[in-house]
C-alpha cells in the first residue's frame, strides 16, 4: 500500500505525490500518520496525506485520507 500526499502544483492544480510503499495497511497507516505530523507547518502547498493502492509506478488510488495534522479519529479509527 502506498502513502503520499496531495499538493497544489505550480499551476494551481492539485497533484497527488507518492511518498512511500508498504507491505501492509497497518504499516501504511503508521507511515501516513508520521508523514502528516511531519508536514505540520508546511507552506500550505501540501493539503493532505493519503494511503491507497498503487495503480502504476507513481500513482495510487487513495483509500484513506489524513489531515495535517491528523485528527484523533484518523489516528485511532477504532
Amino acid at each position: 500500500m502506498n502513502v503520499g500526499y496531495l499538493q497544489v502544483d505550480s499551476e494551481g492544480r492539485l497533484e497527488q505525490v507518492k511518498h512511500s510503499e508498504h507491505d501492509s495497511r497497518e504499516e501504511a497507516h503508521t507511515a501516513a500518520i508520521a508523514l502528516a505530523d511531519s508536514l505540520v507547518g508546511n507552506s500550505n502547498n501540501i493539503l493532505e496525506v493519503s494511503r491507497g493502492y498503487p495503480i502504476s509506478e507513481t500513482e495510487y488510488v487513495a483509500r484513506v485520507r489524513y489531515s495535517i495534522p491528523p485528527t484523533d479519529k484518523q489516528r485511532n479509527p477504532s
Binding site: M1, V8, G12, R13, L14, D23, S24, R25, L47, E48, S50, G52, Y53, P54, I55, S56, E57, V61, A62, R63, V64, R65, K73, Q74, N76, P77, S78
Partner: protein, 589 residues
C-alpha cells in the same frame, strides 16, 4: 376413857377444865360413834386407825377405816410456884394417841352427792334406785329395771359400715356388683387422671378449651345446609346457584368432564357502563427466573379426529370501533390454513423474496443560499446518512446534487467523494471467491482479469478489498480505476478486472478473498466512489442538478455515508452546492 390434852393446858394436874370439856365431847362423840358404828355396821365395819401427826383425818370407804391423826406429845408442864416447901408437882402423863370413837363426829364428815350424814353419824344414800333410761332402736329393744335389763335385737345380720357394723342388707346383688368392679378400681381419680385415661383410649381425642370455645362460638341450631347461613358466612352452596362477589381461590377446578356443558366466565351483558373491562387471566403468574411451574398449557377442544373445535374471538356483532387483537410472544404452529393460505408454504416462498428498505434524505439550507461552497480542502457536505442494519443486503446510494457554478471558464473543477465509515471488520463476512482461473494481462488497457466460479458481482464495489489471504494481508484493489466485473450465467463464471499494476493480484489458482470494507479498522473513513464536476461557464452562472448512483456493496452493518467535496482548482468559491438528497436502497436477501 380417853384423855385429850390440848394446847394451852396449864399442865397443872388440877387444871382439868379443858379436860373435862374434852372428855364431855369425847363422850358425846363416843356415843355418836356407837350409833354410827351401829349404823355403819349395816354396811361396813368402821375401824379406827392412827394417822400421822399433823395429817388430816381420812376415811376409806372401801375398807371402812377412819383415820384420825393423833395429837402431838404434850408439853412438859411448868414448874410449880415456889411454895412452901411443897413438893414438886408430879409430871403430867405423856400424851397418848388420840382415840376417836366414831360417834357424833358428823361435823367433820361430808357426804357426796346423794349421800347425807346425819348428825348422829348415820350416812344415808339419799338417791337410791336412780332411774337409768335405756332405749332400743331399730330391731333392738331393752326391757327390765335397774339393775337388771334385758336387751333384745331381732336383726342378727351385721355388715361393716361407716364407723362400725351396720344392719344394711348385703345382698347377692351387692356381691355381684362388687365382683363386677375391676381390680384396683378407685373412685377417687382426679379429673386430670380421668382425662388422661380417656384420651389414651383409641379414637378418643383431647377436648380442649379451644374446642370448647369453638363450640361455644357456634350459634344455636347452627345448620351448614342453610343457604342463608352459608351465604352470610361468605360461602355458597352448590345447589343454590351462588353468586360470588369476592375472589374465589381453588387450586384445582373440574367443572365438568362429560356431557354437554356451558361454562360462562365474565359473560355479563351490557350494563351501560362503558368503562367496564372483563379480564380473564389464565396462568399469568410469573416471578424472577424461569421455572417449570410458571409454564401454562391451555388445552381446548377434543383431540379426536372427528372433533369440530371452534375458537371464536369477538364472534358477534362487533362494530364501530370494536376490534379483536391477539398478542403472542412465541411461535404459532398451524396444521391447516390461515384465510385459506398455507402459511408454511407461503412463508417458505416469502423467505426467498428479497426485501427492500428505502432511506430517503434531503438537505438544503432554507434560510441561506447556497447550501455550501466547495474549497480546495476536502469538507463534508451536509450530514451523514445511515444504512439500516440487516442480515445481509445489497446497498445502493442514489442521490442528486444541485450545484451552481460561477463565471469562471475552465476553473469549475469539483471533486465529490462518497465516503463510507468502516464498521468492525469482524462484523462483516469475508467472502471466499474461490481460486482464480483464466488470468489475463492486458498491458494496453492496464487491466488484469481472472475468473472465479459463481456470481460475486454484488460484492464488488469501490469500497471492497480483495486479497489472496483471508486476513486481508497482501490485498489488492478492485474499484475506481480500470476495474469492472461481469457475470456469465451460462458458465456461472464471474470475470473480475482490476488494475494491472498491483503486486498482489491473484495468480492462477490462487485463492481470492473479499471484504466489503477492505478489512479496515472500525471508524476508518474509506474513500470509495468519486465524482468529478467540470462545468464550462461563460459570462453567466450555471445551475445544474446531477444524479448519481453509487453501489455500496453487500454487507450487514449500519454504516454512515458521508458526501465530501472540494474544488481541485486553485480558484475557489466557484462551485456552490445548493442542495442534495437521495435514497439509500437496501435489498435484503
Amino acid at each position: 376413857m380417853a384423855i385429850f390434852r390440848g394446847v394451852g393446858g396449864s399442865g397443872d394436874s388440877s387444871d382439868n377444865s379443858f379436860l373435862q370439856e374434852v372428855t364431855a365431847q369425847a363422850n358425846a362423840a363416843s356415843a355418836s360413834a356407837v350409833l354410827a358404828q351401829a349404823s355403819a355396821n349395816s354396811i361396813l365395819t368402821l375401824t379406827a386407825a392412827t394417822g400421822a401427826a399433823g395429817s388430816s383425818a381420812s376415811y376409806n370407804a372401801s375398807t371402812g377405816v377412819l383415820t384420825i391423826p393423833r395429837g402431838d406429845t404434850g408439853a412438859t408442864g411448868a414448874t410449880g410456884a415456889t411454895g412452901a416447901t411443897g413438893a414438886t408437882g408430879a409430871q403430867g402423863p405423856a400424851g397418848s394417841d388420840a382415840s376417836v370413837t366414831a360417834a357424833n363426829v358428823t361435823g367433820v364428815l361430808t357426804g357426796g352427792t346423794g349421800i347425807s350424814i346425819a348428825s348422829n353419824g348415820t350416812i344415808t344414800n339419799d338417791s337410791p334406785d336412780q332411774t337409768v333410761a335405756l332405749t332400743g332402736t331399730g330391731a333392738t329393744t331393752i326391757t327390765g329395771t335397774y339393775p337388771n335389763f334385758t336387751i333384745n335385737s331381732v336383726n342378727t345380720t351385721y355388715i361393716v359400715g361407716d364407723g362400725g357394723l351396720t344392719t344394711n342388707d348385703f345382698t347377692d346383688a351387692d356381691h355381684t356388683k362388687l365382683n363386677g368392679i375391676e381390680a384396683n378400681a378407685t373412685a377417687d381419680q382426679t379429673g386430670a387422671e380421668i382425662k388422661s385415661a380417656y384420651e389414651a383410649v383409641a379414637d378418643t381425642n383431647a377436648f380442649t378449651d379451644a374446642d370448647h370455645s369453638k363450640l361455644d362460638g357456634i350459634e344455636a341450631s347452627a345448620d351448614v345446609t342453610d343457604t342463608t347461613n352459608v351465604t352470610s358466612a361468605g360461602a355458597a352452596m352448590l345447589a343454590s346457584s351462588p353468586t360470588f362477589t369476592g375472589t374465589i381461590t381453588a387450586p384445582n377446578v373440574d367443572i365438568s368432564t362429560t356431557g354437554s356443558v356451558t361454562t360462562n366466565i365474565a359473560t355479563g351483558g351490557n350494563n351501560s357502563n362503558a368503562t367496564d373491562v372483563k379480564v380473564v387471566n389464565i396462568g399469568t403468574g410469573y416471578g424472577t427466573g424461569f421455572f417449570a411451574g410458571l409454564s401454562t398449557t391451555i388445552n381446548m377442544g377434543s383431540q379426536s379426529s372427528n372433533a369440530q373445535n371452534i375458537f371464536n374471538i369477538g364472534n358477534g356483532t362487533t362494530s364501530g370501533d370494536g376490534e379483536n387483537t391477539i398478542n403472542l410472544k412465541g411461535n404459532v404452529t398451524v396444521g391447516g390454513t390461515v384465510d385459506g393460505r398455507d402459511v408454511a408454504t407461503d412463508g417458505a416462498r416469502l423467505d426467498t423474496l428479497e426485501r427492500f428498505y428505502r432511506t430517503r434524505f434531503r438537505e438544503r439550507n432554507a434560510t441561506a443560499f447556497p447550501f455550501q461552497y466547495l474549497t480546495n480542502t476536502i469538507a463534508d457536505i451536509g450530514t451523514p446518512v445511515y444504512t439500516k442494519s440487516t442480515t445481509g443486503s445489497e446497498n445502493t446510494l442514489d442521490f442528486y446534487l444541485g450545484t451552481t457554478c460561477a463565471d469562471y471558464y475552465d476553473n469549475n473543477d469539483g471533486h465529490i467523494e462518497v465516503v463510507v465509515t468502516a464498521p468492525q471488520p469482524t462484523n462483516e463476512d469475508t467472502v471466499y471467491l474461490g481460486t482464480a482461473s483464466n488470468p489475463v494481462t492486458n498491458t494496453s488497457t492496464g487491466r488484469y482479469s481472472f475468473d472465479v466460479v459463481g456470481d460475486f458481482t454484488h460484492h464488488l464495489t469501490d469500497y471492497c478489498g480483495m486479497s489472496v489471504n483471508s486476513d486481508g494481508s497482501n490485498a489488492f484493489l478492485y474499484g475506481q480505476t480500470r476495474s469492472n466485473a461481469y457475470y456469465n450465467p451460462h458458465t456461472n463464471i464471474t470475470t473480475i478486472s482490476c488494475n494491472l499494476y498491483q503486486s498482489y493480484r491473484p495468480a492462477l489458482y490462487q485463492t481470492v478473498y473479499l471484504h466489503p470494507f477492505d478489512w479496515e479498522n472500525s471508524g476508518t473513513d474509506i474513500i470509495g466512489s468519486t465524482i468529478q464536476i467540470d462545468e464550462v461557464v461563460y459570462n453567466s452562472q450555471k445551475m445544474s442538478r446531477r444524479d448519481f448512483s453509487v453501489y455500496l456493496g453487500y454487507f450487514k452493518s449500519k454504516v454512515p455515508i458521508q458526501l465530501r467535496g472540494k474544488e481541485t482548482s486553485s480558484t475557489t468559491d466557484n462551485i456552490a452546492i445548493r442542495n442534495f438528497g437521495g435514497v439509500i436502497t437496501q435489498i435484503e436477501d
